[in-house]
């Protein structure tokens, strides 16, 4: 992990307390966006008026606190932290005319939109669940008619049966004895899927090592496989035009950056 990314200015006491309160139940959160939404409530303003800068500070405080407590945060929390650190610098520094890509304000606005949308979906989900519901508030006919004259047998199967039946046949071959132990193999396909989900948050050059999945950076065999797969996947994304890749020196960290869509 890029340690310097998390070197935060002293956070206020209240922020620390808020972060600490969050930490208690890290498993109770459904990802970084959920944490951000919870943090945003402490600002006590309409989500449309939220200070994203403030939010970034709070989130970084949260991650910092987790580190101090030696809590393992899932990688996507850290990727979000890196992205927010980048966003923060964009928001604080005067805009550099030579810099490409969206402005800090645009990025902040999108984050605010995402939070507002998630909150909105939660609100309507609650309203949906509170609707009058069949079997709870209103009821269907309890007694079918007993005009039993014609009996037809109808064979039934659900789509799930069908798909699972198909999967059963098609995956049967995968369990032949020659299959080696692949516990320690991270495939490029997996890496690619993972990277696609993460690159949206890389604003600036980021060490490729920070993309390794959790639990793959300890054991050398696993790390090697994950590194190779992540590297291969990065090249694939470069080829597709989503990423830029660079290495400043022999054995220096390999760094990645998202390609701006407008180029």
């Amino acid at each position: 992990m890029n340690d310097n990314l998390f070197q935060e200015d002293a956070t206020s006491v209240s922020e620390r307390l808020a972060a600490e309160a969050l930490i208690v139940d890290v498993d109770g959160y459904e990802g970084p966006l959920d944490v951000l939404l919870t943090l945003s409530r402490t600002q006590k303003v309409d989500l449309r008026k939220i200070s994203v800068l403030e939010l970034a500070r709070q989130y970084l405080g949260f991650v910092e606190r987790a580190k101090e407590l030696r809590l393992e945060l899932a990688a996507d929390y850290l990727v979000m932290a890196a992205w927010l650190a980048f966003l923060k610098s964009r928001l604080l520094l005067p805009p550099d005319p030579t810099e490409e890509g969206p402005s800090g304000e645009e990025l902040a606005a999108h984050l605010a939109f995402q939070l507002e949308r998630l909150q909105a979906m939660r609100d309507v989900a609650a309203r949906l669940m509170a609707c009058d519901r069949l079997g709870r508030d209103f009821f269907r006919r309890g007694q079918g008619e007993d005009v039993t004259r014609i009996r037809t047998v109808q064979y039934n199967a659900t789509l799930l049966d069908l798909m699972q039946g198909y999967a059963r046949i098609r995956t049967r071959d995968d369990f032949r004895p020659f299959v080696m132990d692949r516990d320690s193999v991270f495939t490029m396909e997996q890496a690619l899927e993972r990277m696609r989900g993460l690159i949206g948050f890389t604003g600036d050059w980021t060490d490729m090592a920070s993309y390794l999945p959790q639990g793959w950076d300890g054991d050398p065999v696993r790390r090697r496989s994950a590194t190779a797969a992540t590297f291969a996947a990065s090249l694939e994304l470069v080829k597709e035009g989503h990423l830029e890749i660079r290495q400043s020196d022999l054995y220096a960290p390999i760094q990645l950056r998202k390609v701006d869509g407008r180029t």
Partner: protein
């Protein structure tokens, strides 16, 4: 639906008769068995005159498509006898399709047009005549075009009835193995990399496997 005479409603007063009638109506409708007067009384607010409410209800349904009838000591809503002819389709017994039939159907859906030999190759066992007949009888599969291969074997394809039954717009919308897995619909997780499917499955997005299989 308030009765005019119930202006001084209190917690301990029975609801107006029209309301009692509605209640009886709902309970008779939703109950799986005929409901006795005593049972109705137990369910409804204290002080209701169930017998009278039922009498009102019975009158209300006179001449309608359903009737309120007394069955022994209990009450029920039943189809008017002259409309019984409309109900004939009503009794359907559903049975689960056999595993062989489901697998055969799945292979046809995913690989159509599929010949019998292809089905057997994928399933690894022979396909019984009965299975095909059953699926044909359900009108979930039909004959497709003959294959332009030696022997010109017949093929099978799925029907619009099939799509209808399984809630699909087209057989192409069936998820591939990878998508099934992604959606968490697979019970078993085979080793990574071993998921390449024949045919059109992962089509375009299939990535070259770097770590040789």
């Amino acid at each position: 639906m308030q009765d005019a005479d119930s202006t001084n409603e209190s917690l301990f007063e029975a609801p107006p008769m029209a309301e009692q009638e509605r209640m009886c109506e709902a309970v008779l409708f939703a109950s799986a068995e005929p409901v006795s007067v005593r049972d109705l009384e137990a369910r409804m607010p204290h002080g209701c005159d169930v017998a009278q409410a039922l009498e009102h209800l019975r009158k209300r349904y006179e001449g309608r498509g359903v009737r309120v009838v007394k069955v022994g000591e209990a009450w029920a809503i039943r189809t008017a006898p002259d409309l019984g002819f409309l109900m004939q389709k009503e009794t359907v017994e559903t049975r689960k399709l056999s595993r062989a039939a489901i697998e055969t159907l799945a292979i046809i859906a995913y690989h159509q047009p599929a010949t019998r030999a292809e089905i057997e190759e994928i399933r690894g066992v022979s396909v019984s005549r009965g299975t095909i007949d059953q699926l044909m009888g359900l009108e979930w599969i039909r004959f497709g075009r003959r294959k332009m291969t030696p022997g010109r074997p017949v093929t099978f394809v799925v029907t619009p009835d099939f799509l209808d039954h399984f809630g699909l717009e087209s057989a192409r919308d069936l998820p591939g193995l990878k998508e099934l897995r992604a959606a968490g619909l697979l019970e078993n997780r085979p080793p990574p990399g071993a998921m390449s499917l024949g045919e059109d499955e992962d089509g375009a997005d299939a990535q070259p496997e770097l770590f040789g299989e």
